[in-house]
Symmetry: D2
Subunit: 157 residues, 4 copies
């Protein structure tokens, strides 16, 4: 296990930002590289948490705007490919942690489940029902950042 | 209004295939170009319906496998970009019609809502709740193929 | 043989535009679908020639700007992926015809040769030497539009 | 100046591998992050040189094959987008160094010149002539690895 993508909205609540910062710190302390979208909100918070703990953080941007990049990144890929970059984040990760909900975040959750074979863990965020109204097991639901990281790294209870 | 993307799973129910075929036919009869994923299930059914009515159908494939392409396509783009092709379908459409549910289909719904500014209409498929369990208005829910096409073309009741 | 990509610069000479228009017309008359970048210069000229002869022309755009699209296209894919769209054009074609030279056009030539297995024909355009100064057989050099189309369709003399 | 892409063929000569290893080492010693394709040949050599000097090296792969990755990478992006990944490498770099020649490498040179505004430096590799046979100033030609790095970093003589 070497690379975990942490996905979440550009505009997030204070609780989500706190979760993201802690998830970043715990991943860095576990020696895991963090992949994120390199923007604001959850992306900036996880980069802050991981870099503050000395971890490696790679931002994968949708655009090529140097000014739109959050602090705390070790390196930045400017894809210039819009939301298609979400597919790269998901394809590159050994696990995905979803924090909060937005349309972009939902696309990452969906792409991660489409790929299959990796843990997709969530802290908060949206829920899914199938056509009959039955809840879908879209993600492994975590109770707090430590639980999310443990489950992403395959040591979940 | 010129191009409508019709998205749905590779493995679909008979009802979904019937809906997709009829949606394809109605779009073709309205002089609208159909964009689809060019594979099986809903993709094959919409291509069949639209081409049978003399319409233009463009398939946008995730791979470069010539043998994986469904019948009825006027032209095929082989992106070789995996599920990132979903972003192209959505970015190219003046409206999106979702038929049925799957992880790939959900990513298209999410990317379409992330883009914003275009109708995203659904026939069947999955439902979304926010973190509090409140239903999200993810799509314009249609009652049948004619209603779906009318709403996609901006003439919905 | 069903789809031929015609690649060339946005700003081209009158001769290149004439060549492109004629290539488009001949491809359409042969029942072949034309793929192009959907912009100005060679792209606009080939679309004009092919559509004038009743052919199918698919434009694959780097951006999502509806206003930047040339006339004569049957359908347009808005990739929003910048020059990565060149890879899609090349991957989708059964043959590539290069008209004139530019950096974008050169990337298409290079991607087509990297892919291999398809004819890459040129009318005018740049030449390549290896590190020792020996000319590289980068493309099949055509003498005029009819020759270019014949060689692309595998009927070259 | 923070990120330099080093591009070159998967199958390279011993001289090219030596050049790439030295370029990687010099970039790392200058505190610059190396971006590369993460595969064999020049890609493996530059990763080896940079990582041996304690530098950060990011590999950007065309596929999602974990086994195809070279040693020495700090992080790997698995784009699953084929040669479209070349556009990402070039868009992410503050300068590009080309070592040797191949069709994939040529596409990176062409995409870098298409982008414009950044130094594109070469060590060996192919040459370009325009339609009249006049040499094109495709790249800044360097005499050795130290010269290539100096010119990429804007301190060229």
């Amino acid at each position: 296990m070497r690379q975990v993508a942490v996905c979440g909205p550009r505009e997030c609540s204070d609780v989500e930002a706190r979760w993201a910062r802690m998830v970043g710190r715990l991943l860095a302390e576990a020696g895991v590289t963090v992949l994120c979208g390199g923007g604001g909100g959850v992306m900036a918070a996880v980069a802050d948490g991981a870099s503050g703990a000395g971890g490696l953080v790679i931002g994968v941007r949708p655009d090529t705007e140097r000014g739109a990049v959050c602090a705390g990144l070790s390196a930045v890929l400017f894809t210039g490919m819009g939301e298609a970059r979400n597919a790269i984040l998901v394809a590159s990760a050994d696990a995905v942690i979803i924090i909060g909900g937005s349309w972009g975040t939902l696309s990452e959750l969906a792409l991660a489940r489409h790929r299959g074979g990796i843990p997709v863990v969530s802290l908060g965020g949206w829920q899914l029902l199938d056509a009959d109204g039955t809840p879908l097991d879209a993600t492994i639901s975590a109770t707090d950042p430590a639980d999310a990281v443990a489950r992403a790294l395959g040591a979940g209870s």
